[in-house]
Symmetry: C2
Subunit: 375 residues, 2 copies
């Protein structure tokens, strides 16, 4: 156990935005809520799943919806506490801890606001090891656990508790309610025992987010790029450095969907790099050549500041580094790829690990440079 204070929240906000791969919501709102709550109630204990009693009730706390909307429609905070209390009423148990359902900007931080107010610890784990856009894209689902009941609340005071027949129905009903509630809402599902969390969640991801954030902030304080340290720490790959020449995005079914196009920073480098996202970054291509795809983590850093950028922040003219990191092994299984691989999102390509794709891509470019006959 360690205590999460305001500096740790600052670190997690930055690190979780990187691990959130463009999604999870802008960290600003979540950070404000967590900082205010810690200021008022004191630091929040961060506990490993195994530090809890096996039967303890652990309640995930999250926001569902389009991050673009969250910047304009500020949560009240009451709705986060409400979804926890509804879960307690339904199960007849007091929550022993809360946890994030994903590692991403707003959704890694909201649990700390609720935990501070309720005097509970946060579990150092999540169910994605990154952020994903749909509610069934969690290790709990891969492991066959039931999402029910699902509790939802909005800032207006509407509350919903539902028992879907499966995780796909959970996503379907929750998404539809989210749209009605103004494209964002508080949501809790997969309220589990500490034992179930220990077996199924991806552990220590909040500690990892804090470590990543500290690394980025340390580099920034010395005006250095965090990229080399991040590639080493997360076993990653630099896919491309370039300038955004076009961004299109639209609100579609409660998601921010879109595409960004890039030109190379290095003069004379002929590349046609495209990045596709649905809240999260899902696919990077150079021409027809896939560089990385979901479920591997695709990350965009501001090239000037080293700050990780959510997809709703991408703008024409921005200079960025695009990185990719291997997904947790649970996502690289057949089931993981079926649930969150490129085909699920409508891209007609097979998933291949980023390290394989990049080895091939580098060979191709090496060959091209060495021998004009191959191309």
């Amino acid at each position: 156990m360690k205590n999460i204070d305001q500096q740790a929240i600052e670190n997690i906000a930055v690190g979780a935005t990187l691990l959130g791969t463009g999604g999870g919501g802008d960290p600003y709102i979540g950070k404000l809520m967590a900082l205010q709550a810690i200021d008022k109630y004191g630091p929040v204990p961060l506990v490993a799943p195994e530090e809890l009693s096996p039967d303890d009730l652990v309640v995930p706390i999250s926001m569902i919806g389009a991050p673009t909307v969250l910047l304009e429609k500020i949560p009240s905070g009451r709705e986060m506490v409400k979804i926890l209390e509804m879960m307690e009423t339904y199960t007849g148990k007091r929550a022993a801890a809360v946890m994030p359902i994903e590692i991403g900007g707003v959704n890694s931080l909201i649990p700390f606001a609720v935990a501070a107010e309720k005097g509970l610890p946060v579990v150092d784990a999540d169910a994605m090891g990154r952020a994903f856009p749909e509610a069934q894209m969690v290790t709990f689902y891969l492991d066959g656990l039931a999402p029910e009941p699902v509790t939802m609340a909005d800032e207006k005071g509407n509350t919903v508790l539902f028992n879907p027949v499966d995780a796909v129905w959970s996503e379907r009903l929750a998404r539809s309610l989210t749209i009605q509630m103004g494209a964002s809402a508080a949501m809790s599902d997969y309220a589990l025992t500490a034992e179930q969390v220990k077996r199924s969640a991806i552990p220590y991801t909040l500690s990892l987010a804090e470590d990543v954030g500290r690394t980025i902030l340390a580099a920034q304080s010395k005006s250095r790029s965090p990229v080399p340290a991040l590639l080493k720490k997360l076993n990653g790959h630099l896919l491309f450095s370039g300038k955004i020449v076009d961004v299109t995005r639209r609100l579609d079914g409660g998601f921010t969907k879109g595409e960004a196009r890039f030109a190379a920073l290095a003069p004379g480098e002929a590349k046609d790099v495209r990045l596709y996202f649905q809240n999260e970054y899902l696919l990077v291509q150079d021409g027809s050549h896939v560089l990385a795809s979901t479920p591997d983590l695709i990350v965009v850093l501001d090239n000037d500041t080293g700050t990780p950028m959510t997809s709703d922040r991408l703008k024409y003219g921005m200079r960025v580094d695009i990185l990719a990191f291997p997904a947790h092994p649970k996502w690289r299984t057949a089931k993981g790829i079926e649930v969150a691989g490129p085909k699920y999102f409508g891209y007609d390509i097979d998933y291949r690990p980023v390290e394989e794709r990049m080895a091939e891509y580098k060979n191709m470019h090496h060959d091209k440079q060495g021998d004009g006959n191959i191309g």
Copy 2:
């Protein structure tokens, strides 16, 4: 108290379809479910609100959605019992009775199926005195009662309980869930005490439906038109007798919306009659002249058989009588007209009682026939 047996169900099915003004769902499915349940569990007591203890819990049972879909997606029956049991769990009270929320084909009969299975009486009252397409169009809302909690279930096994901030949010969230659930679902709202039902509901409407149905079936058994008897019993008006020359309908936001056009049966009678519906019949015009509008009851009877027709049954070539009856006084108040008058449905006309409109229309036609200079 009287007992509702299978013959009474047959009568209610016919009478409630008439009072349902084109909506409330095709009676066939509801009748089948009620007949089967009574066959298995015996007749169901029909009780006046004042026969219950004031604090008794009364649970309305209904289907929400597009009647067109209900003909193809048969309810399982389990979802009706489920929404009752969810209400009992939430309130911590056993239901003393169920009731229909509206008088309309399927929704007057479904409560009898649940009542038979659960050994409960049905209250002889409803909250519309007819059928209406939206959930806030109930006397309970006019009287400021809260709809929450709302319970919903579908035939697949999904269940939802929600607490909307008001009746408009109740309708909004329920409609969105209904669409996801396949355009029809079981729904209960306004679980009230018997005392509240006594003060706010429209009483004896199931008895009225049975009486109306008996009248129609008696006329049919003698091959006579039920129209004269119905006009007398319900203080109504025959607007028009004609043949359907065009019907357009579409599924829109969980409703069946549409319009029918008619030609006169009498040769040489030059009329351009149009009937507009959103599940229920809402407006009848001859050219630019309004004959009747919601909240007054507009009814279509098959001219050959005297059978009342729901809007999903209207077909090209059908010969029909269009009748209208005065709405209950609660709907003719300023609040009633605001909630369920023509302007709410997007028709830019003022509500005026059908008896006024028809007196004017008849005068106009009388003048026309008597004096060609006026037109």
